[in-house]
C-alpha cells in the first residue's frame, strides 16, 4: 500500500477495543486517541491538535461516566430509574435531568409524538436514551474545546462529532455503515464541524418502535442525520427512523440538517443538504 490505509472493516475476529476510527494517515499527527467503554457502548476520542491537556480528555470521559450513572434506565440507582419508579418527582431531579427531559418534551410535541421517551419501549418504561447520548457527547466536546481542541472527533458507538479536520486541508471522512454487511459502507461523508448520527434496526434488535403503532417502523433499515448539533442529529435520527420513509423528509425540514436513509428494498435516499458532503 502507499501509506493511505484503506479502512475496510472485516468480519469480526478477536480483538481489543479501539473502535472509533482509523489511525492518522502517513505524515499526519497522531494526537491523542482514547477509547472507553461507557453508556453501553464504546466511545473514542481522537484529538489531533497538539498541546491539548490529556486531563481534558480524562475529564470528558469522566463526564460521560457521570451522565451514564445519572441517566441510565438500566441502572437501578440512576435518577432516571428512580424517577421512573416514582421515588422522586421530576422537580426533584438535577438540573441536567430536568433539562434533558424538557428537550425530550419539546421534541415529542414537534414530532407529532414520534419521539416519545415513554412510548417506544415495549414495557413503556421511561427511556430518554434517544436524547441523552447525543446531548452528553456534545457536552463532553465542550470540555475538549475549552482545553483548546479544535481538530478532534468523538465516536460514541456510531454517533459522531467531527470537529475541524484530521489534518490540514482534509475533512473528516465518516462512513455510513452498510445495514447488512458490517464490513462494508453504504456511503461516505466528508465533513467538518458536523455531527453524524445513525438509527437503525440492524444492531441491538428492533429496539425502536413507532409509538403510534407499537411496531417497528417500516421502510427504512437505517437513517443517518447530519447537522451542526449531535444532540439534535441523534434525536432526529431516532425520531425520523420511527417515522419510516417519511422520516427522511421530516429531518430535512430542520434548518441545517440533512438525512440519508437506507430502505428495506435496497435504495439509498438522501436530501439535497448532503449532496456536497457525500464523498
Amino acid at each position: 500500500m502507499n501509506g493511505h490505509a484503506t479502512f475496510v472493516i472485516p468480519a469480526m475476529t478477536a480483538g481489543i477495543a479501539d473502535p472509533g476510527g482509523a489511525p492518522p494517515r502517513a505524515g499526519e499527527r497522531r494526537g491523542q486517541h482514547r477509547v472507553e467503554r461507557v453508556m453501553g457502548t464504546v466511545v473514542t476520542i481522537d484529538v489531533r491538535d497538539p498541546g491539548v491537556d490529556p486531563g481534558a480528555v480524562d475529564a470528558a470521559l469522566a463526564y460521560l461516566h457521570d451522565i451514564d450513572a445519572r441517566f441510565s434506565p438500566f441502572r437501578p440507582e440512576s435518577e432516571v430509574s428512580r424517577l421512573a419508579r416514582g421515588e422522586i418527582r421530576e422537580d426533584e431531579c438535577s438540573a441536567d435531568v430536568r433539562h434533558v427531559l424538557a428537550l425530550c418534551e419539546d421534541l415529542r410535541r414537534t414530532s407529532d409524538g414520534y419521539f416519545d421517551i415513554r412510548g417506544h419501549r415495549p414495557d413503556g418504561r421511561l427511556d430518554p436514551c434517544g436524547m441523552v447520548k447525543g446531548w452528553a457527547v456534545e457536552e463532553a466536546s465542550r470540555i475538549l474545546e475549552a482545553a483548546g481542541a479544535n481538530d478532534y472527533a468523538i465516536n460514541a458507538g456510531g454517533d459522531v462529532i467531527a470537529s475541524g479536520g484530521p489534518a490540514a486541508g482534509r475533512p473528516w471522512r465518516v462512513g455510513i455503515r452498510h445495514p447488512h454487511k458490517a464490513d462494508r459502507l453504504a456511503a461516505v461523508l466528508a465533513v467538518r464541524d458536523r455531527a453524524v448520527a445513525t438509527s437503525g434496526t440492524y444492531e441491538r434488535g428492533e429496539h425502536i418502535r413507532d409509538p403510534h403503532t407499537g411496531r417497528p417502523p417500516a421502510g427504512l433499515l437505517s437513517l443517518s442525520v447530519v447537522g451542526p448539533s449531535l444532540t439534535w442529529a441523534d434525536a432526529y435520527a431516532t425520531t425520523g427512523f420511527a417515522m419510516g420513509l417519511a422520516g427522511i423528509g421530516w429531518v430535512a425540514r430542520h434548518v441545517g440538517y440533512g438525512a440519508c436513509g437506507i430502505t428495506a428494498d435496497g435504495r439509498v435516499l438522501w436530501t439535497a443538504e448532503l449532496d456536497r458532503l457525500l464523498a
Binding site: T13, P19, A22, G40, G175, L185, A246, I248, G249
Partner: protein, 194 residues
C-alpha cells in the same frame, strides 16, 4: 458514492399538489415514488399520507422551516408550529392532464405565503426520473431559505456495499463487543497496510 445516476424524486409543495391532482392510472407511477413524495412532503407516516388529497395538502405546506435556534446547536427544534406559516392556495384551477405514458408534466403554480412554486416532472419508463422547479420564490432571506426546501431534495441511488478510506464509522448503536472487535481488526489491518 452514489452521486451518479441520481434520480430526483419529487418533493415540493408544488410537486405534491401536482402528484395528487392528476388522475393517474394505477400502473403509471411508481408506488415508492408517490408514497414517499406524499409522505415526505407531509412529514407524516406513509399510511397517514396516502389519505385524500385535501387532507394532505395542509401538512405539505409545512415544508417551510421556521427560524431555528436549533441550527446553532441548542434550544428547541425548528418545527414549532409551521402549519400556521404557510397555507397553500392553489393559484390555478386547471389541473394537469393525466399521464398514461412517458413525458414531461408541468404542474400548476402553487402560491403560498412566501411565493409561488411550479414544478416540472419527467416520467420515463413509468417512473419519475426528474423534478425541476420552474418557479421558486426568491427575494428576502426567509423566502430564499424556503426555496432551498422547495427544490426537489430527495435523491436516490442503489444501495451498494463499498469500502473506502475513512476516519470514522457512523452506524446504529453498536453492541460494544461486536463493534470493538470488528473495528479493532480493521484498525489492525489498516496499521499493517500503512
Amino acid at each position: 458514492m452514489p452521486k451518479r445516476g441520481v434520480i430526483a424524486i419529487v418533493l415540493t409543495t408544488g410537486a405534491l399538489v401536482l402528484l395528487l391532482s392528476f388522475k393517474t392510472p394505477a400502473t403509471t407511477l411508481p408506488t415508492g415514488g408517490v408514497d414517499s413524495a406524499v409522505a415526505i412532503a407531509g412529514g407524516r407516516a406513509p399510511a397517514a399520507a396516502t389519505a385524500a388529497p385535501t387532507a394532505t395538502a395542509a401538512p405539505a405546506a409545512t415544508i417551510g422551516p421556521s427560524r431555528s435556534a436549533t441550527a446553532a446547536g441548542g434550544g428547541v427544534p425548528a418545527t414549532s408550529a409551521p402549519a400556521a406559516t404557510a397555507v397553500p392556495t392553489p393559484a390555478a384551477t386547471d389541473a394537469p392532464s393525466a399521464v398514461t405514458s412517458d413525458g414531461t408534466l408541468v404542474g400548476q403554480p402553487v402560491s403560498f405565503r412566501f411565493g409561488t412554486v411550479q414544478v416540472q416532472v419527467t416520467i420515463s419508463g413509468g417512473r419519475i426520473t426528474d423534478v425541476t422547479a420552474l418557479q421558486l420564490p426568491a427575494g428576502d432571506p426567509r423566502s430564499s431559505q424556503i426555496s432551498q426546501y422547495a427544490e426537489p431534495y430527495l435523491r436516490e441511488s442503489v444501495l451498494q456495499a463499498q469500502s473506502a478510506a475513512i476516519d470514522l464509522v457512523s452506524g446504529a448503536t453498536y453492541t460494544s463487543e461486536a463493534y470493538a472487535q470488528s473495528l479493532q481488526s480493521a484498525l489492525d489491518q489498516a496499521n499493517s497496510q500503512g
